[in-house]
């Protein structure tokens, strides 16, 4: 506890100290001078270098705006605690990299900007962003930032393991039954090879990858007015039973205890199918794995729905001029020619449809062979997670339910009903 408090206090002091040393003091006012805005991107290595180059280019071509970009002294995982302490100290940045699932809580802060009207400007071309990105940036009807990265889940597979087991590569029209049979055929306990992975830490990583299966089977997470859990319907039971059978009967699932071991297990050739996203592509390429990827399997052949977890460039409100400057910068940053520089460095997918028609787009596809299928898969991201403030706690209840079933400690219907009961109790308390 003492250590935790010390850490928080140190963060607050550091944040105060960092932003109060005059040299980079962001400024700007109605006097009409140069507007300086601050950006915390949380990136490292190549991605950070790409942002720096882009920011320099922007500053050179926009004499009235100066963007000061830094990592913010943290990575993207810990950006939220960093920004919250900065908000408490009144020294928050104008733009920060934020996970989409934080939106429901960010909206409660008076420091978050409302850029709904600003992005309606035709020069921003807002509708060019994919729907999942736009929906994540819009909380309770208010636009709070720009989509930063867009991804989705697909099935990445190790071709060598398929060949060794004499199993056909998954086809684009595969079903849950095909998925289960494929995973079972690839599993070889004597060699320590698993068909597919599932994280069972009970965190959001356990929960979010379950939603596409629920949606495919015709279920919804919450009722339309966000007042009741609806994931414990027959659709939810069907989806969870599939994974239960695979994990406890076929034993074809690698149950990852803490979310970050599936990757090394896949890279070491012990996992045949890896349900994951484009962020793995640079790592897999570097490890020289002979890989392919396929869309998620389908419940009844109608949809191969996946889930997308877009991240945001959240905009914070220092003054109307600075908010406008942030919008101008982010709009420029998301233009295809600039975005491609960032995408190639970060291994992310195009956030705007027009990027896929850009002349340089082919170069990006050549740099990451196989990523094209993940781009096409964006069309399969039809739902987003509910943007309610209780979502992180609902996710925990659901994650525990899924983990208990996969570990053979509970039955699907019972576990889902228990999670639904907790969810309803959480939703009954406002905000």
């Amino acid at each position: 506890m003492k250590r935790l408090l010390t850490v928080i206090a140190t963060f607050a002091l550091l944040a105060a100290a960092c932003t109060s040393n005059g040299s980079s003091e962001p400024s700007g006012g109605p006097s009409g001078g140069k507007v300086t805005i601050e950006m915390w991107h949380g990136q490292i290595d190549i991605a950070a270098a790409a942002i720096k180059d882009l920011v320099d280019e922007f500053n050179a071509s926009h004499p009235d705006i100066e963007v000061v970009a830094s990592s913010g002294g943290t990575d993207t995982n810990d950006m939220l605690p960093k920004v919250t302490t900065a908000i408490a100290a009144g020294t928050y940045p104008d733009i920060a990299y934020m996970y989409g699932s934080w939106g429901g809580n960010l909206i409660t802060s008076p420091a978050i900007a409302d850029i709904t009207d600003a992005v309606a400007d035709p020069s921003v071309n807002w509708d060019d962003f994919w729907p999942a990105g736009r929906e994540t940036a819009t909380v309770n009807g208010q636009v709070i930032g720009f989509p930063a990265i867009i991804d989705n889940l697909s099935v990445i597979y190790n071709k060598d393991l398929f060949d060794a087991a004499g199993v056909d590569y998954p086809s684009a029209d595969w079903t849950w039954d095909d998925f289960r049979a494929t995973a079972k055929a690839l599993t070889d306990p004597s060699k320590g090879i698993f068909g597919v992975n599932y994280p069972v830490s009970g965190s959001e990583d356990t929960t979010w990858r379950f939603w596409p299966f629920l949606w495919q089977a015709g279920g919804e997470v919450l009722s339309d007015d966000d007042s009741q859990a609806t994931f414990n319907t027959q659709a939810g039971i069907n989806a969870l039973t599939l994974w239960q059978q695979m994990a406890t009967v076929d034993k074809s699932v690698y149950l990852d205890p803490n979310d970050n071991k599936s990757e090394p297990v896949f890279l070491a050739g012990h996992l045949a199918m890896f349900v994951s996203g484009p962020w793995e592509v640079p790592v897999i390429q570097e490890a020289n794995i002979n890989w392919g990827d396929q869309v998620m399997p389908s419940f009844d052949g109608t949809t191969h729905e996946t889930i997308s977890g877009p991240d945001l460039w959240a905009v914070f409100n220092q003054s109307p001029e600075r908010v406008q400057a942030a919008v101008t910068f982010l709009s420029w940053f998301s233009q295809p020619e600039n975005q491609l520089v960032w995408m190639e460095a970060a291994g992310s997918l195009p956030i705007r449809e027009s990027i896929t028609q850009s002349p340089d787009y082919q170069k990006y596809l050549d740099a990451y062979p196989g990523i094209g299928a993940m781009v096409d898969n964006l069309g399969n991201a039809l739902h987003v997670r509910p943007a309610v403030t209780q979502y992180p706690r609902i996710s925990k209840a659901m994650g525990d339910a899924i983990a208990s079933v996969l570990l053979g400690e509970a039955q699907p219907a019972d576990a889902l009903n228990a999670a639904a009961e907790q969810t309803n109790a959480l939703l009954a308390v406002p905000g």
Binding site: L5, L13, P81, T84, P110, H270
Partner: protein, 305 residues
């Protein structure tokens, strides 16, 4: 009369001297006190105010009195975190004391390469426990870990370890023992040097066996140190966090969730910082209770320093 004037004069001088001493004293202690106030006491006060709100840290929230504390009673996850923390302390503490003393006695002997052995036992304590957690995550991995492959070779069935709700906490206690008991070893080694050799010699001349020397001379002499290590161990294990964060994150099925991990989740994952602060206060008072009871018990038996 003259004497009275003199003593008044003396008193003035004395006062001025004291003032000078005081100023110098405060000058030395001031910066440290400011640091402690700024980094400990102000946050402690601030987090108490936080615990009276429904803040999510992003916004200040509204004042809700003691509702967070009332909700604590009905929180099954808090009960689980509390239980796990107590079990963890009960697993580690006796093993840490007995193991620490045993190894300290072995390392107090004059044998070849003693420096090397001493280093071996101290390295795990010095290394970052987050890194050790990652390492242990691989060693105790049920499917690919080295422990299970050794078990299989010698005919013991494969174990679930950090994936099994029944075993995960015990595995963590074992790993924690490995990383932390080096501290006990160092403290005990220092204490053993303080045991007067002439008393031991006298006991030996009187015909006491090795066990009796240990039981009736060594053990009573180092009792204040044992007592200190107990209190210290309770404080440390109540704050157990980094290992569990890097290995199981509280899973599987919350079987390794500890109080500090739960507080961290409440504040930074669930956006319920106000409630998290209330849980932090429960931890604070639980630790305080153990320390005060320990101190009183120690005083009564003349062990406290």
């Amino acid at each position: 009369m003259a004497q009275a004037a003199l003593s008044a004069d003396n008193r003035a001088v004395e006062r001025r001297r004291r003032l000078g001493d005081n100023l110098a004293g405060w000058g030395f202690a001031g910066p440290a006190i400011l640091l402690i106030l700024g980094l400990s006491f102000i946050p402690i006060g601030w987090s108490f105010l936080l615990s009276l709100t429904n803040s999510n840290l992003v916004s200040s929230g509204r004042f809700i009195g003691f509702d967070n504390y009332k909700a604590l009673v009905h929180d099954p996850l808090l009960a689980k975190a509390f239980k796990n923390t107590v079990i963890f302390t009960a697993l580690y503490l006796p093993a840490g004391l007995v193991g620490g003393l045993a190894v300290a006695m072995m390392l107090s002997r004059r044998i070849k390469m003693i420096g090397f052995y001493r280093t071996c036992f101290l390295v795990p304590f010095i290394a970052a426990s987050a890194a050790e957690g990652l390492l242990m995550g691989f060693i105790f991995d049920p499917d690919f870990g080295i422990v299970n492959s050794v078990f299989q070779r010698v005919g013991i069935p494969r174990q679930g370890f950090i994936q099994s709700p029944g075993q995960a906490l015990v595995v963590l206690a074992v790993v924690y023992f490995w990383t932390q008991f080096g501290f006990n070893v160092v403290i005990y080694m220092a204490a053993l040097q303080e045991v007067p050799p002439d008393v031991i010699e006298a006991a030996e001349i009187d015909g006491a066996s090795k066990w009796n020397v240990f039981r009736h001379v060594t053990l009573p002499t180092i009792r204040p140190v044992t007592y200190f290590l107990m209190v210290w161990g309770v404080i440390e294990t109540f704050q157990f966090f980094d290992l569990v964060y890097t290995t199981t994150k509280g899973g599987p099925l919350n079987s390794t969730i500890t109080l500090v991990l739960y507080i961290w989740e409440l504040a930074f994952t669930f956006f319920t910082a106000g409630y998290g602060a209330a849980v932090a206060y429960v931890l604070f008072f639980a630790s305080l209770f153990v320390i005060v009871v320990g101190l009183l018990y120690g005083r009564r038996r003349g062990l406290a320093v």
